[in-house]
Point group: C2
Chain length 290, copies 2
Amino acid sequence: MTKEVSAKTVRTPASTANLGPGFDTLAIALDRFIEVDVEVSSSFEVTSSGYGAGVPVDDNHLALQVCKFVLGHSNVALSIRSDIPLARGMGSSAALAVAVAVACESDDPLSVAVHFEGHPENAAASLYGGAVAAASVEGRSVVRGIEVDSELVSVLVIPENELPTHKLRAALPKSVLRIDAIENLSNSLMLALSLKDASTIERFMFKDNIHQRYRSQFFTESDTIMDELIRSGCIGAAWSGAGSTMIGFSTRSHAKQVLSKVKRFQEDRGVFHQVEVVEFNRTGTVVQLA
Amino acid sequence: MTKEVSAKTVRTPASTANLGPGFDTLAIALDRFIEVDVEVSSSFEVTSSGYGAGVPVDDNHLALQVCKFVLGHSNVALSIRSDIPLARGMGSSAALAVAVAVACESDDPLSVAVHFEGHPENAAASLYGGAVAAASVEGRSVVRGIEVDSELVSVLVIPENELPTHKLRAALPKSVLRIDAIENLSNSLMLALSLKDASTIERFMFKDNIHQRYRSQFFTESDTIMDELIRSGCIGAAWSGAGSTMIGFSTRSHAKQVLSKVKRFQEDRGVFHQVEVVEFNRTGTVVQLA
């Protein structure tokens, strides 16, 4: 007997990982969503709109792979609507994997996502919402929630460039200076422990030494964009995951001003990346039965 | 006009730093104390009992240096009683610096202690109590408190060996593997975010890659002691600061059993280090006016 899924709609938020120093560990969910309708079908069908609509539906399609992994078959019809851009460091594939795993009624959607993603922080944020620290320990995901001040919002600069995630990872050095490693762990702790009160967050807490500088060769504009976010009034700025999106952290009361200043800086440089104030998501993945 | 201090007694707790992965950042205050009575005097006088009683009272005496630094003179009489062993990784000098700075009514006893210690985590724990993450940022100390489950206690193995702190620091390598650095930052985050609920703390969260293994050449028994703490029922174990004390983390309900098992392991090996269940301190430095 094959497992049959109930018809439903699953809504899963995007996520931003690393937050600067918290490499492969810290992530926060973002109020951008992927929605997946699922119902039983005689064969795999998928219709997509929004980001990812152009991805070929072949055996490599992540949604198909997740269905097969969870159900042991792919007799489902999926309708996917996404406003999470692909390969831009906003956790689109983790969000899709979580959404489809939940749609297929997996007992452990986080493990399903980790099976395809390799590490759990984006998927954990997409599943649970809010900020998380997450680790893979002997094949098991361990996740801890982190309180985030409701006054804190993100200002995202989302370039058109898609960055090659595998190249960005391959560019990382085998070893790092001990003092750099210690500063990263210190900054990531200070940041994680300050997120609950925006007034206690300081710029140094976003400083990273172990990945951003090695990745900037693939996106030489990254430092300029982060600098513009800071000069526009953000508390701190970082690569969102492996980019190309750059994330600024702002209080809600400053966000509008930041937005217009960043746009003005871009105009002055003659570039026009998408710039947007995006709330941190608190709800995580939500299921609505049809 | 020289500043005169009011007669008072200051009581400051010991502290354990690093907690495994949180090198130079994490610390927790311990219920072992240094007490300092202070009163005005025509010249510097100090009487000491307990640990540190044998330290020569010359210009290098930390208490004298702190008095001069805070007051600009040293016309005070101090009576110091300490049950914090020296050079055993229990933050005795940070505790003394904090206690004397508070006794001398410094506006910023943490900065005073950092001036003499170099980094703030031990001093911050001794000043505020509880667990902290602390960083020095451009000469300024930044401290964040971390909630600790009241069910969590420490089991300390306190050897007679004093370890040479400067040699232990000099033994650290200039660079570390990136994957080791990332595991440290991940573990330290998971630990800091789990301390509030002892049932969520796991052994991997104490795993360090960037200091303990390089220091064990100076205390080859360290791995054996940590292993005995684990086998006796501790959740995790680590070097306390730069040793020689090793700290196990246990629930209160298991602590007695851990204590007797550790002692039995030591008997079997023919060693008899001091072993003690010590509560984490919650109060920090307390002042009582005479």
